[in-house]
Symmetry: C2
Subunit: 302 residues, 2 copies
């Protein structure tokens, strides 16, 4: 059987400055990137909230990819979540200059019947409080993919730890894994995160790829070799979204399936970073993702 996929997280407007260029009020947020990425693999329901300023044209962009927005609330009294950030030193560091939670300060998830029936849920990067609220609305015992970031490790660790116990896949980057595990070796960190209750753990290593720690084994996927990096924003969300979509399209959720999902994730994330915002991602397709997936396999095969 393949699964019904629900994705939550932020829908945002981003002001982004890179060493090469800048853009304002670009469609962003973890749920946007993740849902677009997932949409190439499986039907997606998105649960999130936008504000008074959210453009119909951006709704249309999500709908164009077939994303079900029945659980996307519009709060006409406040603006959409806003993030402003800057990349330094040839993209090696990112600085968050401004975050306005706006509509997320009062978000109370309302899921459509279809979303409630999801059997795969991607809790995209947003506060553990919001992630828990969405997950508690889902009936049954879905397969849970949990993405997070350093902010929540620092400000909501206890809530996050409770969610980790429910996670079939926990996704975080290397520095976050080390921060949360309390160990500075990446391999030991992965094993400690398994001990915290996640059924499997994916540690992202940026331009190097990602590692999977799973009870059935260990796996390393290299990144697709990107020569023309434009904007890393949303790379992790696209990676998680493609993983969720790939798994939703598969009859199994085994170690082998998660490994193949990571290849799809790496391929999809590499498309995202080659343009500002989600411009290249939303115009991509399974052909290009499959081409890059095939190359990643080729590049790591002896």
């Amino acid at each position: 059987m393949s699964g019904k996929l629900l994705i939550t997280g932020s829908v945002a407007y981003d002001n982004i400055e890179t060493p090469l260029d800048k853009t304002e009020r670009a469609l962003g947020g973890s749920a946007s990137y993740a849902a677009l990425a997932a949409s190439f693999f499986a039907p997606v329901c998105m649960a999130s909230i936008v504000g008074s300023d959210f453009a119909e044209s951006d709704i249309a962009r999500l709908r164009k990819r077939g994303i079900n927005l029945d659980s996307l609330i519009r709060d006409a009294s406040r603006p959409t979540f806003f993030w402003r950030g800057k990349y330094h030193d040839n993209f090696s560091s990112r600085e968050t200059l401004e975050v306005q939670l706006n509509v997320f300060e009062h978000y109370s998830p309302k899921l459509s019947d279809s979303a409630k029936d999801a059997d795969i849920v991607l809790l995209g990067n947003i506060s553990p409080g919001v992630q828990s609220a969405v997950l508690s609305e889902v009936a049954g015992s879905p397969f849970v993919i949990l993405d997070t970031m350093d902010l929540w490790i620092n400000t909501a660790r206890d809530e996050l730890k409770k969610l980790i116990k429910k996670a079939d896949i926990l996704i975080l980057n290397e520095s976050e894994a080390k921060m949360l595990s309390g160990d500075r070796n990446i391999i030991v960190s992965g094993e400690r995160l398994l001990d915290m209750g996640a059924s499997s753990v994916i540690i992202k290593t940026g331009e190097y790829g990602a590692m999977l720690f799973h009870r059935d084994g260990f796996f390393v996927v290299p990144a697709y070799p990107v020569k023309d990096l434009r904007d890393p924003t949303g790379a992790g969300d696209s990676f998680a979204g493609a993983i969720a979509g790939y798994i939703a399209s598969c009859p199994s959720r085994s170690f082998a399936t998660i490994k193949r999902a990571m290849l799809a994730g790496a391929a999809t994330a590499s498309i995202t970073v080659e343009s500002f915002s989600c411009l290249k991602l939303e115009e991509s397709g399974l052909d290009e993702i499959s081409r890059r997936t095939g190359l990643i396999i080729k590049y790591s095969s002896i």
Copy 2:
């Protein structure tokens, strides 16, 4: 046919301090690590120089691994090359506190007839001047593996560039590749280094692994997952040495051979870093290297 392997580089005494421990006057140097690593795969001739203080017991350690030392000169008038360094921040950075070239200030290579006949030469990390001097003593047109480091890129770039044109494999780490290529993207760097005349380029990415840029394709090998890192000194030299030894043991020097050699290199380097100095490396064997090579293949296979 398999090849006769000559390895040059430094033979040194190292004082090493890590976050966990420290050691003094440990056997080190690029040629020592590389020759020990290569010795598991093929017979090795070593060309280098030691000083008045070099212990017979250290000569015995190299001989025990079958390394031919007919081209290892002893200069009784000066001490052995000496390096003192310290690892900071959980091994994420290394500081060189002291370098005494000592015997290398006056090294004039004298190769045995057997060493002159080498058809594979590993120019281990030492000044391009010494590397050139050794290479010029070799008859014929050997397969050249060239290792280097940031110091030589900064102080002897022109000499290094001449050597690169003769290199069948150029090996350097990520920051060195970016420094030498003038580009800050790792993929673009690898391609530019090919343009500089190397037939193939291996960029080491430390705990993530290494990438191969070759006219026949691109390849990524992940690192072996090391949980108990003790001393990274010599990891790169062991990697290069195992690659050289593996290639010397093979009838071909094709893309496929270099890929397999990198697996052997990654496996061997992972053994080196699990102890101070070359203690664990010299007591290892092909069984353990093959076991780790097999695991690296498994960990990167779908």
